[in-house]
């Protein structure tokens, strides 16, 4: 594993970002907009619903945590799509770059994207809604770790499928968060779902993060059992994503599918 090559993959995305207002906006705009809208909704609900429930804490917290996941996922899959759109994969994979170094480069890119994006959200939530995400204290570390891990997992899965089936399936990248969100218990507990859908939630590790976040926000407790279940599921899915990604890469090499990225 060469750190220089991992850095090169990150640098390629950084060069792209630094002079592109639309990409910079992509990092900040939507996440800031979400905090702003949900902050206002929370404030309104607080004013009409009384002070019995911490709307701002729960809803704005949920939005920030959800963005941890989506920004991480997009940090990987959209960076990969940039190489697909610019037809750069043939040059990359005929160089000494290995598939592991490429994936590591995308993961580093996703971390930097997410940190900048979330920093903007946290600052806005604090300035406009007096919301301090650090109120979670130590609990924040396991929550964020699990969100990163699941974001990488879905990003790598999406990337693997685009690698195998071509740019035609890039819709996966854009629709994956929407498919997961209803079952991830982002804004409501798993119990709010119809019984038939709950098993799906129990299989999604970040549903435990959102449940845990609400418990921590409301009761100030951290449920270790939730954390362990989420961690086991996350590690299992992450290993599966890596396996599928490597498998798809070998299918691409076997069938000569890199040339498809030159024509689609």
């Amino acid at each position: 594993m060469s750190f220089q090559r991992i850095y090169a993959i990150f640098l390629r995305q950084f060069f792209l970002l630094r002079r592109s207002p639309s990409r910079i906006m992509g990092v900040f705009y939507w996440s800031l907009l979400e905090v702003f809208i949900w902050g206002l909704i929370s404030r309104y609900l607080h004013s009409v619903g009384g002070e019995t429930f911490g709307f701002v804490t729960v809803l704005v917290g949920a939005v920030i945590f959800w963005n941890f996941f989506t920004r991480t996922m997009n940090g990987i899959s959209v960076s990969f799509l940039e190489d697909v759109w610019s037809r750069n994969l043939i040059n990359l994979f005929s160089s000494p770059l290995t598939i592991g170094e490429y994936a590591a480069g995308l993961i580093v890119t996703s971390i930097v994207h997410t940190v900048f994006s979330i920093a903007g959200m946290v600052a806005m939530a604090w300035l406009f809604f007096s919301y301090n995400i650090f109120l979670f204290g130590f609990f924040l570390i396991p929550f964020v770790f699990l969100l990163f891990l699941f974001g990488w997992t879905i990003g790598i899965f999406a990337t693997a499928f685009i690698l195998r089936f071509g740019p035609a399936v890039e819709i996966l990248v854009w629709s994956a968060p929407a498919l997961i969100m209803p079952f991830a218990a982002v804004f409501y507990p798993v119990e709010a779902l119809p019984g038939a859908f709950r098993p799906i939630s129990y299989l999604i590790p970040i549903s435990y993060v959102f449940e845990g976040m609400r418990r921590a926000a409301i009761g100030g407790t951290f449920d270790v059992r939730f954390f362990i279940i989420a961690l086991v599921l996350s590690v299992f899915y992450f290993a599966g994503a890596i396996f599928v990604f490597i498998k798809m890469y070998h299918i691409v090499l076997k069938r000569g599918l890199f040339t498809r990225f030159m024509t689609e």
């Binding site: 090169a8 005929s94 000494p96 890199f258 030159m262």
Partner: protein, 265 residues
């Protein structure tokens, strides 16, 4: 010398001087044998032309050597090492350029070159990039987005990228396809000089027969995935009593069966 995969050929090609040695290379797509038991080698300072009509198997061969396509059979040895086992040691010492593989258009020329300098583990990447920009007359475009350049200028950037690692083996798939004749001529000279100075080797595909005659010390004609002819361009032209390589190409493309393997080399 036969080049269609026979034992004697394989034995003779395994020389100490060879930079690239290919033996019985095979690629099958469904029922189509795109590359069918191809064997050849390239020695230091050699520029080998890979010729053949569209779909003959040239790009499949280049892609297999570049590590972009997994062979179904045979062996690729580069610098004496098996590509499938020693990719990590081989790839930094070879490079690839193709007319269809441009560098990202939304990055500046110098940024693209810097990224590939890092990917190839080049020492002093900034200095190397500046020197290449100068060598390929790209200094004025250093801060221009690559996609805004003309196709000829972009091809020069791709060639600069191909030489960034001072490769000992260079794979060029129609490298001058979008260049005007004068620039193409200059690029050919540059590559020829590079090869003789660095004792490198080149595998070069092109549909411009005058280009092949100009640069290649040897050519391999590929038809239906097999090497059907192997030799020096002038010798082959004389042997088949043609005016030039283009006439020979047309004859082979129309009637590949008219060429018997005994005519090779």
């Amino acid at each position: 010398m036969r080049t269609n995969g026979g034992f004697i050929t394989n034995f003779l090609y395994m020389t100490d001087n060879a930079i690239l040695e290919i033996r019985n290379l095979t690629k099958i797509y469904g029922t189509l044998r795109a590359v069918d038991g191809v064997s050849f080698s390239i020695a230091r300072k050699e520029i080998i032309g890979l010729l053949g009509p569209n779909g003959a198997g040239k790009t499949s061969i280049i892609n297999m050597v570049a590590g972009l396509l997994m062979p179904d059979g045979g062996e690729i040895k580069i610098f004496g090492m098996n590509l499938s086992e020693r990719r990590r040691d081989i790839m930094p010492r070879m490079n690839f350029a193709a007319a269809y593989a441009q560098l990202p258009g939304n990055l500046r020329v110098e940024e693209n070159l810097l990224i590939y300098a890092l990917l190839y583990g080049v020492g002093n990447p900034d200095t190397t990039v500046r020197s290449l920009l100068h060598e390929f007359d790209l200094e004025e475009f250093a801060e221009t987005r690559t996609g805004l350049l003309s196709s000829g200028e972009q091809s020069r950037v791709v060639l600069a990228k191909a030489l960034i690692s001072s490769p000992k083996l260079l794979l060029l798939d129609e490298p001058t396809a979008s260049l005007d004749p004068e620039t193409a001529h200059r690029m050919r000279d540059k590559i020829k000089n590079y090869v003789s100075k660095n004792e490198s080797a080149v595998l070069w595909t092109s549909h411009h027969m005058n280009e092949i005659e100009d640069v290649c010390s040897r050519v391999l004609f590929i038809s239906h995935g097999k090497v059907i002819l192997d030799g020096k361009p002038a010798d082959l032209v004389n042997r088949f009593k043609k005016k030039n390589l283009e006439e020979l190409f047309i004859m082979i493309a129309r009637e590949p069966l008219s060429v018997h393997p005994a005519n090779c080399g």
